[in-house]
Amino acid sequence: MTTRRSVLKGLAASATASLLGPSVLTRAAQAATSSEGTWHITGSHWGAVKALVKGGKVVEVKPLEDDPRPTDMVKGIKGLIYNPSRIKYPMARADWLDKRENADRTTRGDNRFVRVTWDEALDLFHEELERVQTTYGPSGLFAGATGWRQTGQFHSCINHMNRAVSMHGNYVKKAGDYSTGAGQTILPYVLGSTEVYSQGTSWPVILENSKNVVFWASDPVKNLQVGWTCETHESLPYFDELRDKIAAGEINAISVDPVRTKTQKHIGGDQLYINPMTDVAFMLGIAHTLYSEDLHDKEFIDVYALGFDQFIAYVMGKGEDSIEKTPEWAAEICGISADQIRDFARMIASERTQLVFGWSVQRQQHGEQPYWMGAIIATMTGQVGLPGGGISYSHHYSGVGVPQTGANMPGAFPLNLDLGKVPEHDSSNFNGASSVIPVARWVDMLLNPGGKIQHNGHEVTFPDVRMCVFTGCNPWHHHQDRNKMRKAFQSLETVITVDYSWNATCRHSDLVLPACTQFERNDIDTYGAYSNTGVIAMRKLVDPLYHSKTDFEIFTALCDRFGRAKEYSRGMTEMQWVEQMYEDTRASNTGNFEMPAFADFWEEGLVRFGRGTDWVRHADFREDPELNALGTPSGFIEISSRTIEKFGYDDCGAHPKWMEKIERSHGGPKSDKFPIWLQSCHPDQRLHSQMCESDDYRESYAVAGREPAWISPQDAAERGIEDGDIVRVFNDRGQLLAGAKVSDDYAPGVVRIYEGAWYGPVDASIGALDTYGDPNTLTLDVGSSKLAQATSANTCLVQIEKFEGDAPAVTSFGGPVEVTL
């Protein structure tokens, strides 16, 4: 140890001193800290949790005691807060910062960012909004994409971004979503509402009245782990009751699915395998049996439905294709016997049958058709509106089926401008283009400005978008065909993203603003999205980490750039908003549900409203179809739709039809080259892409550090693949690495890679190998049909091979990469 010091004087001293800069530490009084820490209640998509905060850190997170079925994913919350992938400071892409719209766009995704101050970042945000509005008008800006924002009614980032950007100017918006695009478009024509986001018949009613429960491409035990607002998990114990009734022979449950699901394994019952994407053929065979064996409820159809004759003519071979949709015809396509089809039809017609559809089946080419056919099958049984009968499209979602209390829930931070207010740039001139596009077609929009598509009875002209704003939304997870996206992003001059972790959307952006997580802000939320079980206080657990801010702070500061911060925030602070939202809820429940004063609520953390009331979907319509008419054009169930027929679409006509897919496994088109169907359904251990970055938790399910690719023993053996191997999954659109999980839950020709796996290419080139296993590297990006133009992610064929050689390191996440010293 040396103790020698040197002394500099004069200019030399000044020059060297300038290198040192200010100290990063300062003298401070020692703050008192509790050695025991404090437990706080907060809410999340994964349920209500208690968090122990000690020394300014969340040291433990566990489910709230009254959660009847906590999800395992609670284990991932700490890793989400303290993940090295957190965005720490506002960052700008280096080349873009210098050259803006003239920057090299081919280098997006190469990680060359520089730090900017918040003031610089927000000035840049504002300058780009100004530039685009004044240069291109509202058609130059797309700010419509939204996703599963963090929970909390006040800080909901969708609302904050929309309100702030709307104050500045108009912009291109989206219609629909990726979850249910086809379903939410077709069902209003058939049943009068989207159905996918509607409350369903209460589980106690189903358990009491149903003799058959058919889970059709639906896996609620997997998907009910998460909710749109704070999830209560009250729905899951009903599956225990269902399991017991199945075991006792009181209920018969069938899972129509190419995969043995988590739900089926939990409740027991039977799986009816049919070939992927052949559901409509199967259902047409069922309809044929119901009709030809006189099992259909003619009186119900006469009173409650329209268009049966036109449909049944098609089924019986008297329609345009002159093909009779016999069970034998369907069996050839579906991979099961004609007798199985007949038996299934007889079963659902003979006793009270609740059909429960999932959403994956409509995320395919012609995804409108199976949902429409499902409604027709339910109508033919005459059970729509009966307790424990009819059809549901939502029982796997956010606690649907838990009896609803009827209590009013907190509102949200306003999404739009206040009444009478107009944007700074109030032009509505979209240069002849559309101001709203179907959301799943936004990449087509970027690649084909001025192009025209049909959408739900209208012609959409793609605007020439030059700038995108994303917040709490990861399109580089939920959109299809990564390499197509990479090309499309080269057309954008500016991409601005607000998020809390360095996902692929951030990496492909020009300006990245760090929002804090929901655990670093105060908020209020609905407890039970459909049950309205209660209201939960979301206490800030720790201060925003690094230099992140709440969405409220970020967008208030943005609005300040054009002098409208006070209008944006209404001059209120975070806690004033939270308290007002609570007091408004309390006032609206006066006389029906008692709620404590705000201070008590905030201390207690949760107010509950008790058990809700049992309810039967469509019962009111069944009771009086004129007084309680459906929202369809006729007010009745539309088995055939004149409205849709008039659109004249070749891929969605007057009634549901069997249409071959552009690619289909098990003998379908292109299966000779790529024989395996890739299913990319919602994950079991994350919420879409949320929590994928939580390293410890990811390691609990990853295989060789990669996203699992679930494959049948037969397919694995044929390819020399063993459980735990790294595999390359590929087709003409892309390639990825994944970890093989060999399981007899999967039929030959079927592979599952859950969506939400973070995209991590080896480099920024188009066609680059994805290192972690994002299935949307491979999926097809075409509209479901001219009606919905929804995602067709589940129409996707691939080939799989064992990966030989040194696998490249995963590039998707932060955290240490092992190095050899």
């Binding site: 140890m1 040396t2 040197s6 001293a13 530490l25 090295p84 390293d695 590039t811 932060g814």
Partner: protein
């Protein structure tokens, strides 16, 4: 203006801390070009051999000077790629990432530094809510230990306990990272030599 500047461990640590927590500005870069870091290297040389790195450092300064990008943009991008982002291009300067709770931030080393700083009556002087185990805080703290105890015993123990377990991994990641210039990799090599020399 500083008329007199004493160069000792406190200043060396202060210098490293500043380099690893914020990007250099034009004034500082011009000062480097004029040889303002020479006294710092000379002081370091009394403890460990950094002559080769000093030559590399001078070379990389000239390369940066020849860079067409304005305002040291490429150097700032190197800083971000190493110390601010994540993933394979980065070498985030937090002890927790290398020795904490399985790679999460704000781990045990953060808690340890919180306690050390509190005992010393110190706190962060940054605007951001950074983990206390950011290497800059640790270096500033180390400089203060060295100043307070010229024998270096306390500081050496701190280096043994708090730096030694992870600086090899940190240095390896910095060297493996993709940067346009060698400015930061050279600085980190010098820093790691210095810290190894302080080990007891």
């Amino acid at each position: 203006m500083n008329d007199v500047l004493e160069i000792g461990h406190r200043q060396i640590c202060h210098w490293f801390a500043g380099l690893l927590v914020r990007e250099i500005n034009q004034t500082q870069f011009d000062a480097y070009l004029s040889g303002a870091a020479d006294p710092l290297f000379e002081q370091l040389q009394t403890l460990c051999d950094v002559s080769a790195e000093r030559v590399s450092f001078s070379g990389t300064l000239l390369e940066v000077k020849g860079e067409a990008t304005p305002q040291l943009r490429s150097l700032a991008a190197d800083f971000a790629a190493l110390f601010l982002l994540d993933g394979p291009t980065s070498a985030l300067p937090y002890a927790s990432l290398y020795i904490g709770e399985n790679g999460t931030m704000f781990g045990a080393p953060h808690q340890d530094m919180i306690a050390r700083l509190a005992d010393a009556g110190l706190s962060q002087a940054l605007e951001a809510n950074e983990p206390a185990d950011h290497i800059a805080f640790m270096l500033d703290y180390l400089g203060r230990l060295l100043e307070a105890d010229p024998s270096g015993q306390v500081a050496g123990n701190f280096v043994n306990d708090s730096f030694a377990p992870w600086i090899d991994s940190f240095e390896a990641r910095v060297i493996a990272a993709k940067t346009e210039f060698q400015f930061y990799p050279v600085i980190v090599r010098v820093l790691c030599r210095y810290l190894r020399a302080l080990k007891r």
